[in-house]
Every structure is written in C-alpha cells, then in structure tokens.
Symmetry: C2
Subunit: 91 residues, 2 copies
C-alpha cells in the first residue's frame, strides 16, 4: 500500500512562552565561557517514517499528527516536511 | 562586539540506538489510526542566538558547543547551521 516517506517535524515553543530548559542550557554555555550566547530555545525534532499513497497524502497525515498528538498547539508551533523515502533520503 | 547570529542545531540519536520515546509516540499514532506509521525517532532542535565577529566564528563556536554540551557524542549526532541574524531570520 503505497511508498514509504520520511517526514521531518520541527516543534518549537511559541515566542513569549517561557523556556526554562533553554534558559538552563544558556546559563551552562555562559558558565563554560561562551559569553556571546544571548538566548537558547529548546524544541523537538522528529523523524516519522510512514507509508502513504503519495507525498501529498503523507504530508496531510503528518500535518494532522502534529496537530493531534505531536505538538501542543496552545504553547507550541510546528513545521513539517516530506524529505522523500528513507531509501533515497539522508543516512 | 560583532553581530548577532541565529544558529539552528539538530540532534538525533545515532542509528541503532534504542529510542523508547520514539517507540511510544509511534504506538500512540498507530493506536490513533495512523497505521501507516512504521517508525518514529525523537530528537532535539535548538535555536541559539549568539554574538560573534562573523558567521564563520559563530559556526565554529556553535559546533564546539554541540560537542561539549549540547549533544552526547556517544549516542547522538548533531548538525548545526547559521541561519542569519534573528532580525533577518524567520519569525
């Protein structure tokens, strides 16, 4: 049933949402001597391998997954893209 | 001292490293009816805003941060890129 597609999903906190994890990473970097670091925001990156009829259908499904499960639309925003099949994608 | 640069960092588990979080997300998606989902891998996505003399220096610093703090080189690999200053970057 269809081909396999590799989707890449990027999930970030909306601007203005506090990011304590990012703040902790920033403080760690500054303490290590990277004094030029002004801000760090931590998000998620997911790779989803799925079977679908075509790339359009694959994108539609992944976009829906992002809204329904992968991201929290109240505080996060997401971006997804179809990066081809795993076979012809990056290693 | 220099300009502000926005660096994007993608951290993923190396192939072969078990990803229980990804497995849980996959099971959740299948349970929700996305039966085409074959595999999910969960990684991190970070945005680092930093001051540096130029883009080359900014990249060098972020690459070093990835090796020293942001990623675990035993089980993870990383990719970083300089995406311009926040002002002229994406919203």
């Amino acid at each position: 049933m269809g081909e396999q597609y590799l989707a890449k999903v990027y999930i970030t906190l909306k601007p203005g949402v506090l990011d304590p994890q990012g703040e902790a990473v920033k403080q760690g970097l500054v303490t290590m001597g990277y004094e030029g670091v002004k801000e760090v925001r931590v998000g998620k990156y997911l790779e989803v391998l799925l079977e679908a009829e075509d790339g359009h259908e694959a994108f539609k499904q992944v976009d829906e997954m992002c809204r329904r499960l992968l991201s929290n639309p109240v505080i996060e925003r997401y971006r997804c893209e179809i990066a081809g099949s795993r076979e012809d994608g990056e290693t």
